[in-house]
């Protein structure tokens, strides 16, 4: 299907449906919104996407990055209508139906991005991983710590690290986080990476904040950072 952009009517319609299913309303996905000119506006370039599932955030980000690159579509990060359209198109991936057909969409920002909101812009389930992938497009595998999770449930590691600009944009810190929290064989998140325990992503954020006063962390590699991490991180580095 050709990608479009939800206009204000489309955004209101989508948001209204999200509100409705939270309150037990109709579960029927308003797919007509995707093509109805009352709700969409053209993107200006031809970008084709097909219905599919994604194994994780990385796969979704990689797919969309390739689609946009093929169409030479740039400056998409803050395009609210585009990302909302994609969320609605991939609703079964970002908000899968349970056994009874019910959906739990969570906060609206997961589906309709708030690109100017510092606390929520990264929470969009498609734009969030896309931004991270693009920021590390020279070596996106290095950011697997924030991309290895299921698309519909990013979890605490993403919340702790993606919310901090100085962490998520830093190649060395992303290399370190991936070394710490991603199993190199299964490419899934290690147990204990989330939460408040020793060596967790929350603690990594705290430690890096203190390091940031002393070092220019953008000049450091993941290995260099790993060598100076406190002992509490050893259990993740050894695995």
């Amino acid at each position: 299907m050709r990608v479009a952009r939800l206009n204000e009517n489309g955004l209101a319609n989508f948001e209204g449906w999200l509100d409705s299913i939270r309150q037990g309303g109709s579960l029927d996905v308003p797919t007509a919104t995707l093509t109805d000119t009352q709700f969409v506006e053209p993107l200006g370039v031809d970008v084709e996407v097909e219905p599919r599932s994604f194994a994780n955030r990385f796969e979704a980000a990689e797919y969309l990055h390739e689609r946009f690159a093929a169409a030479e579509l740039t400056n998409v990060e803050r395009d609210r209508g585009l990302w909302a359209w994609l969320s609605l198109f991939y609703i079964d991936a970002v908000c899968p139906a349970g056994t009874g057909g019910e959906r739990k969409p969570g906060a609206t920002a997961r589906h309709i991005p708030e690109p100017k909101n510092f606390q929520r812009y990264y929470r969009h389930l498609l734009a969030g991983p896309f931004r991270i992938y693009r920021a590390h497009r020279d070596n996106p595998q290095s950011a697997l710590a924030l991309l290895c999770q299921p698309l519909d449930s990013p979890g605490d590691v993403v919340e702790q690290l993606a919310s901090r600009q100085e962490l998520v944009t830093n190649r060395g810190i992303m290399e370190l986080a991936t070394k710490l929290y991603v199993d190199s064989e299964s490419l899934t998140q290690k147990r204990g990476a989330g939460g408040k325990g020793g060596g967790s992503a929350r603690r990594l954020s705290d430690v890096i904040e203190q390091f940031d006063l002393t070092w220019d962390l953008y000049a450091a590699t993941g290995d260099e950072l790993a060598a100076v991490m406190p002992k509490e991180f050893s259990r993740f580095l050894k695995v």
């Binding site: 690109p115 991270i132 920021a135 100085e166 002393t214 220019d216 962390l217 953008y218």
Partner: protein
């Protein structure tokens, strides 16, 4: 109040010494930077970098050394779709080990030419910051206190910071917090050092009507000092006529 431990004595570069402006030539936005680093006694060969950032977008530009600041020829902000909301950092790092941070300035917005002409040497610099759902914070982490205003709360953060309602609600509390740090935590009493922000703040407080020029000695306890601070805050609010101005603003369009 933001406070972190700066064990290595990294120098905070004053914002008045970092002036960044955007260029509106054809193509992607680019920027000019005027960095004044000569007063910071940095090693001549220390490396200077300017970083531009907004959310997940980030670019870094080498700017030569502390002795010879040399902007790169290409200062296009090519990773950004527009200059809106871009903030900058300036970092000075040790030449032999680029990881060691010697001096830094952060959260610097692009300025218009009019703003660049303004006098930035104020007692309380006001700067934009991403503060989540908080409207303001007092940053005592750097070389001097700064008022941080939420850059995304309203369309124009400067207008917010200058509004009567904001000033009336926020500034007395800032005076209280800053003086508590100076007088009670740091027990600073010198009012003569023109290079020390604490002395400048004490002089400002001591010149308010009815206020003893010097803060009380805290060696026998904080009680008198706390009373003095409360008197300063009250005198400041009275001098600024905050109650009357706030009421007028509240009943006009600004406060509605």
């Amino acid at each position: 109040m933001i406070r972190r431990l700066n064990y290595t004595g990294r120098v905070k570069i004053h914002r008045r010494d970092v002036r960044l402006s955007t260029r509106t030539d054809e193509g992607p936005p680019s920027f000019d930077a005027d960095l004044r680093l000569t007063d910071y006694e940095l090693p001549a060969d220390a490396l200077v970098f300017v970083e531009a950032y907004r959310q997940t977008t980030w670019m870094r530009f080498p700017f030569g050394t502390a002795a010879v600041v040399r902007p790169p020829a290409d200062r296009r902000l090519a990773e950004f779709d527009s200059p809106d909301g871009i903030l900058f950092r300036v970092k000075v790092t040790q030449a032999r080990d680029e990881h060691i941070l010697l001096a830094a300035a952060d959260r610097i917005p692009l300025a218009s030419p009019e703003e660049l002409d303004a006098d930035h040497d104020s007692l309380l610099p006001v700067n934009p910051a991403e503060l989540g759902d908080e409207l303001w914070q007092l940053d005592m982490d750097g070389a001097e206190p700064e008022l941080l205003v939420n850059v995304s709360a309203v369309a124009d953060w400067r207008q917010l910071a200058r509004s009567t309602t904001f000033m009336a609600l926020v500034y007395p509390e800032i005076v209280r917090q800053v003086l508590q740090v100076i007088v009670i935590e740091e027990k600073h009493r010198d009012t003569d050092d023109d290079t020390d922000w604490k002395s400048k703040w004490l002089r400002f407080a001591g010149m308010l009507p009815g206020i003893e020029p010097n803060p009380p000695d805290t060696s026998a306890g904080d009680g008198e000092a706390r009373d003095w601070i409360e008197q300063v805050v009250a005198a400041f609010a009275k001098k600024m006529d905050f109650k009357v101005k706030f009421a007028a603003a509240w009943h006009s369009k600004e406060g509605a």
